[in-house]
Amino acid sequence: MKGYFLTRILSLVPVLLIVSVFVFFLIHLTPGDPASVILGPQATPEEVEQLREQMGLNLPLYQQFFEWFTGILRGDLGWSISQNKSVINAFFEHLGPTLSLAVLAQGISIVLAIPMGIIAAKKRGTKIDQSVMVVAMLGLAIPSFLLGLLLMQLFGIKLQWLPVAGYEPLSSGLWEHLKHMIMPAMALGVIQTAVIVRMTRSSMLDVLSTNYIKTAYAKGLKERIIYYKHALRNASIAIITVLGETFGSLIAGAVVTETVFNLPGIGQLVMNSILRRDYEVIQGTILLAVVSYLAVNLVVDMLYGVIDPRVRMSRKG
């Protein structure tokens, strides 16, 4: 087991390397000089030159990469020029809203989607199934930022039930926090719900047609036990796979949704850093997003073993 995960983690190293190379060269091939962008049009050439020196921009590209990469391995993601703090600090300052948004959206989607998917599979071909699938289809077709704008109009402006936009941290009270998060989380959660409903339904259908479900019926088990114990346990492998795979789009969706609702999260950090050409922040943030994606999928991989004894078995060997 340990051996398996050690190799699994080691296999991430090339992926990380490729990602770092890609991010670094993408950003550093940008036309335009960041130093002069940062200092603005009034800056003298001497000032610009001084800043370039300070930022290490005069070094050859491969050397800049090497410095940056060894920094990463030491846990140093660089310095944000525009905010005058380390990238790590900037990142964690903006993490709260994004994390809260992602967790709430994912929570809403799991709570809604799994029962809906199971019911749809159970009532396959009926009006209930069809309406669940139509709703899921619509959910997939509405980008989160668009849904965000529509919710904002309905609940924020027309009905005035919820604040239109803005953010209150958890420290100012749970309800205060939730009030500002409900709409963004819904906006982001709906598309996620749609994805999970479809996956749950189709993998439940696959499982329900297996022989062991027939055996379970033949034993005279209650339908609730057959669905939620026998079928769901087997279907959940596909479901958590999709949770892992869509984690990336969840983060990406969170970034865009934040912008709709003016939440001071990672999305805002990235967009501001792009405007100010704050390279190291962009690099570092994207890299951390990738790392979290890889970490989530590592957890998913571990969960396979928890759910399915066969996986556990094959990993021992």
Binding site: V15, T30, L140, A141, Q153, G248
Partner: protein, 301 residues
């Protein structure tokens, strides 16, 4: 015996063409019976006709500013209302639709071509496979919008760069799908036989393996098209896509967000078009998958 053989052969040929015809007829019938594919393609055809006819017969310009008529609600004169600069929203949504669909379509086609090439060659040559798939793993680990933003931020917000960004983001999935179905085909005996006969790798790949990857490939193309439309809209909404004053569904939404308190039509109309086009493509893709893939077809019956 000797007399019988040609007759049998002719019979076989006849049955074969009959079978082909029968299969085609069956496909048409099943397509018409497949509500998903039917609704999806109707939506897409409607959108295309709507956009192209409006472009042909419209006399208002999407860029013509009319400060006296700022933010008018929908009326008989301005069907979808006007925007912050008094521009006709109907004309902007239609032109934006052209831009959005064109960007999405170009990105999809390029992705499809490059994805096919990468997927096929990766499936055929072991050493290429390792390199290409590690790169794909790397690209797949990026949150898609974030990567696309970074690319357009670097290259500059222009439609062509949006196409590039979407393409880079979407190629890995495309290549993987082609690769995995190509790997299955490659293991089959007749491919071995071809190799044994000395068929060139080019011929084997493109004449024999590629056609057999088409079903999942075509379905994936509709998926890529749908997500390209969403990505374009997202990028333009963030100001990292199609730049103003040129309209696109995404940047009309961006303008709409600013005036969301007093002009619902600015978000509503482009929104409806985005949803319709993505919905149409998704339905069409799901329907096609049911038609082309016997396994899911059975499962959905």
């Amino acid at each position: 015996m000797g007399v019988n053989v040609p007759i049998e052969n002719r019979d076989i040929l006849q049955t074969k063409t009959q079978l082909k015809k029968e299969r085609f007829r069956l496909f048409v019938r099943r397509f018409l019976n497949n509500r998903l594919a039917l609704i999806g393609s109707s939506i897409m055809i409607f959108l295309l006709l709507f956009v192209s006819f409006s472009l042909l017969f419209m006399n208002s310009s999407p860029l013509e500013i009319d400060p006296a008529n700022r933010l008018h609600a929908p009326s008989s004169e301005h069907w979808f209302g006007t925007d912050t600069f008094g521009r006709d929203l109907f004309s902007r949504v239609v032109h934006g639709g052209f831009v959005s669909l064109a960007v999405g379509f170009s990105a999809t086609i390029i992705t499809a071509i490059i994805g096919m090439i990468i997927g096929l060659y990766a499936s055929y040559y072991k050493f290429l496979d390792h390199i290409l798939m590690r790169i794909c793993d790397g690209l797949l680990a990026f949150p898609d919008v974030l990567l696309a933003i970074a690319i357009t931020a670097v290259l500059g917000p222009r439609p062509i760069n949006v196409v590039i960004a979407i393409t880079v983001v979407k190629i890995p999935t495309m290549a993987r799908i082609v690769r995995s179905s190509a790997l299955v085909i490659k293991e089959q005996t007749y491919i071995e036989a071809l190799k044994a006969q000395g068929a060139s790798s080019w011929r084997t790949l493109w004449m024999h393996i590629a056609p057999n990857t088409l079903s999942p490939y075509i379905v994936q193309i509709t998926n890529v098209f749908a997500s390209a439309i969403i990505l374009e809209a997202g990028l333009s909404f963030l100001g990292a896509g199609v730049p103003a004053p040129e309209p696109s569904w995404g940047n009309i939404l961006y303008d709409g967000k600013v005036v969301i308190f007093n002009a619902w039509w600015m978000t509503f109309f482009p929104g409806v078009f985005i949803v319709l086009s993505v919905l149409g493509l998704n339905l069409f893709g799901d329907g096609l998958r049911d038609l082309l893939d016997p396994h899911t077809n059975k499962a959905n019956k």
